[in-house]
Symmetry: none
Subunit: 134 residues, 2 copies
Amino acid sequence: MHTAQQALLDRLSLDANGVPIYVQLRDQMLSAIGDGRLKPGEQMPTMRQVAVALKVDLNTVRHAYGDLERQGAIVIRRAKGTYVADVPPATDPRDREHLTEELALRAVADARTRGVEPAAVARRILKIVKRRGE
Amino acid sequence: MHTAQQALLDRLSLDANGVPIYVQLRDQMLSAIGDGRLKPGEQMPTMRQVAVALKVDLNTVRHAYGDLERQGAIVIRRAKGTYVADVPPATDPRDREHLTEELALRAVADARTRGVEPAAVARRILKIVKRRGE
DNA sequence: TGTGCTGTATGCATTATATAATACAGTAAT
DNA sequence: ATTACTGTATTATATAATGCATACAGCACA
């Protein structure tokens, strides 16, 4: 039962637009997680699978996975594989306010640096959580 | 009356997210042209203005402008300045949609890995862009 | 034990990115 | 002609990214 990883592998693509490969990989995998195509606890494609499928160096994939782990999105287990991180318990209400602001500011900056209207991203987020019933 | 360039300058921002500076500049300017904030024939900020405003090297800005010219979005006139092309390439709406979706999905994954409601982040984003005037 | 899968790591070469410090060249206004 | 602004260009330096080859290390299982 490797449909989830295979589906992700099939959707991965690289563009020669100046964006580093490891950034493209990292961001596309984050999207897959946000999408729910990869669920918490589920195994990610192995680094070698990604490297072979996209004809990219193993260390480049490792770079992307390393970023994702540092960010808390995945967990890497030596000799076993990499897995989507479990959803952490909701933060306590006082910190949540601050954390929400922080995440929002980062999203705004992210959108701006990619030339996208932050408001458009916000509306899209609402649409995503709605179509998943959250 | 240089409000258009000034407005663009004010909105330019850089983020240390692995995306090369010249790509960030190129994309943001492309988006400014795409949504009409910069109109055909209008003068762009000079390369030096951008370099000084963002504290980046003149050659880095040139790299971004070079991409834009090769792409047909702007026209560079030596010693006179750079201008939005008369018929700027229509930014493919599908690309814009896709990028927006990607950014939204990343934000969702980001929020979830930190135990924050994605919807709360979305509402915060809207609040932020509102309190900055659209 | 050994085979085979995982992630981890190193060394080397090449290319890309970014900065700094200068300089050059074309245009326009005074 | 001088000045002041454009874009263009070179050299040097440093760091990052990528690829390639080659390993090492941990785990599971026949």
